[in-house]
Symmetry: C2
């Protein structure tokens, strides 16, 4: 399992754990993999706190940070600018939805202003740059860009700091563009992955990306939760795996208990690629939220990113606590980003154990293949 | 690459080639794999002719036959019964479509009557039973059921003839049902496959099906066109691979030249899961046909199977020749079932060479994994 990228990044096993939860990042890093903290939820100050917390726990082992760099929103956009772009029709639809499912708490618009400021900050280039600056002041081993090619400034700063840049792609064409933009590591993400995904499956995408990018190392993402899938990813030509979903039901994960319970019970048929949470197609648990937005007759349709993200986050900030308080309707609505491997996530384990079990089953799979002979 | 199923079925490599073309079936069988003839297009008499042709060329090597057993259409349905179920609105839409794209040839309804008889025959249990009877009189090594659990009668006849029954599934639940119904081999087919598919990817589906069916051998289908993908499938726990798309651009394939050219040029983003050709979600080339049915404002929406199949086949019987004659509009409309691996099908080769290249790249992938060590 020790591929070239392990040497290059100074890790023991090429298992990359994308998580918004610092505990998962530290646990996987300490288990020999590389935790990668999703920084989108944080302000620069909050990110500083999180990274300091991780630094204190990983004993100098390298970990990574992932920032979302959409590059489509102009500078200087305020929360109120963004808010004004949300049509009344959509706010009214959400209001009716919350009422129909018994989620209380007054006008949706009231709580949105601060969230809008947050969202505007999170999706502008300036916001991303501030996070990159914070990240590069810590001993990180990888910086990742989740959307679109990394901006030249990010590549330059990372290069100057000696930190490799990873970029997520869903097509061969995007992989070529990312390499041209300076990405050092390509994460080829199949449609089965959680969150923002394309339409091409991991099995089909990975070997084509490997063939297209020459010497640039490729990690496989989407559909990977156990060691057989790690072995499959390496057989396809990947140098490692990038996993997000499998950590959501670990002991360390901060997943809402009501959502965690849904994930543990879900089969691989219980996810859907929907625009209803962010405005871009993102795989998530199928729930009353996705059904109402995507299928109901009175749905106004999802707004573009980041407006839909704002509407959805505003609603979820109400739905979450109501679901935890036992509200049936709120539980129907509750969901979260997760990939099709949710069908394999059937018990709560420490993140470290997930890594060790991956390594064990990987070994079994490789032994099995070796036992069949090479032809 | 020699798994248990090779011993059991008497083949050298566990590469199963689903094809409607007898030349491909014979070539792959002679290369050490197992060709499986898709019998849906044939009457019992035609199937007899095809299988005799294959028998004369494979020197006693076992091959397979695939029948579509929908089990939903009652006995005694005639072509005219089926025709009457097609709304005028749909026939008119197709008429406008053909006119708009410059495909001539008079009223669509005129040619449909014989096709309707064919379709009715093909999708009734009686039709399927006649095909099964013909198949079992030949020295076949496998009989496959493409839709739904194999009917008890099929299982009994195959058992009596000593022929294993294979069944295609897209979910773990279907796999359990198929095994309960008597299937001897499960083909776990991912969403990336061509033709009728579910939503779960091969990477996610295969290990879960392997875990669910105990000792029953599992073949992986969907996303498999080269040896790295074969190695990945075996790493996931499959005993072999079931490929359909990759043969469509071989020298032997009877794919229409205009469609073959589209496949050779297509990327993995150029397929879509659409109901527009059969009434059930089936992955196929994205073309003006799928766009007009699925996205245009005046589309009446696809009919249920087999009505949409009938409408589509009637139209394609006109579109094909017009495309071959150089009609631009007809070429825009032309399409065919194919999986996302179409992006890897970039040159015309003999089917035998496809098998040999799979074996070679499989060996390289296994060597690469072995070189990394088992942990």
């Amino acid at each position: 399992m020790r591929t070239e990228i392990c040497e290059r990044l100074g890790i023991e096993v090429p298992v990359f754990a994308f998580s918004h939860c610092r505990d998962v990042v530290a646990a996987v890093t300490n288990a020999g993999g590389m935790g990668v903290l999703g920084a989108i939820a944080y302000s620069a100050e909050e990110l500083e706190t999180e990274l300091r917390w991780i630094d204190e726990r990983v004993g100098g082992r390298p970990y990574g940070v992932d920032v979302l760099v959409p590059g489509k929103i102009a500078e200087g956009v305020s929360g109120n600018d963004v808010l004004r772009l949300i049509p009344d029709e959509h706010l009214e639809f959400v209001g009716r939805l919350l009422e129909r499912y018994g989620v209380r708490g007054g006008e949706l618009g009231a709580g949105l202003s601060r969230q809008a400021d947050d969202a505007a900050r999170r999706v502008t280039a300036a916001g991303a740059t501030a996070l990159i600056d914070v990240a590069l002041q810590h001993p990180i081993g990888l910086i990742a860009s989740a959307l679109g090619p990394p901006p030249p400034e990010m590549v330059e700063r990372a290069r100057a700091a000696g930190v490799p840049v990873a970029a997520l792609v869903g097509t061969v064409e995007h992989a070529r563009r990312q390499v041209a933009a300076g990405a050092d590591v390509i994460v080829a993400q199949g449609t089965e992955a959680g969150g923002h995904t394309g339409e091409i499956s991991t099995m089909v995408l990975v070997p084509q990306v490997v063939d297209a990018v020459g010497d640039v190392p490729v990690l496989a993402a989407g559909g990977i939760a156990d060691g057989r899938q790690v072995a499959a990813a390496l057989a396809l030509g990947a140098q490692g795996v990038w996993c997000g979903s499998v950590w959501l039901t670990t002991e360390e994960a901060e997943t809402l208990p009501s959502v965690k319970a849904k994930m543990l019970a879900a089969s691989s048929s219980d996810t859907v690629r929907s625009r209803s949470r962010t405005g871009k197609p993102a795989r998530q648990l199928r729930s009353a939220w996705t059904r109402e937005w995507d299928e109901s007759a009175d749905s106004p349709g999802s707004l573009p990113m980041p407006l839909q993200l704002l509407v959805a986050e505003g609603a979820m900030a109400r739905i979450g606590p109501a679901a935890e308080a036992g509200g049936e309707g709120a539980r129907d609505l509750a969901n979260y980003f997760v990939g099709q491997v949710v069908g394999m996530m059937n018990s709560v384990k420490p993140a470290r154990q997930v890594v060790y079990e991956m390594m064990e089953r990987y070994g079994e799979a490789v032994d099995r293949l070796a036992g069949l002979g090479r032809d």
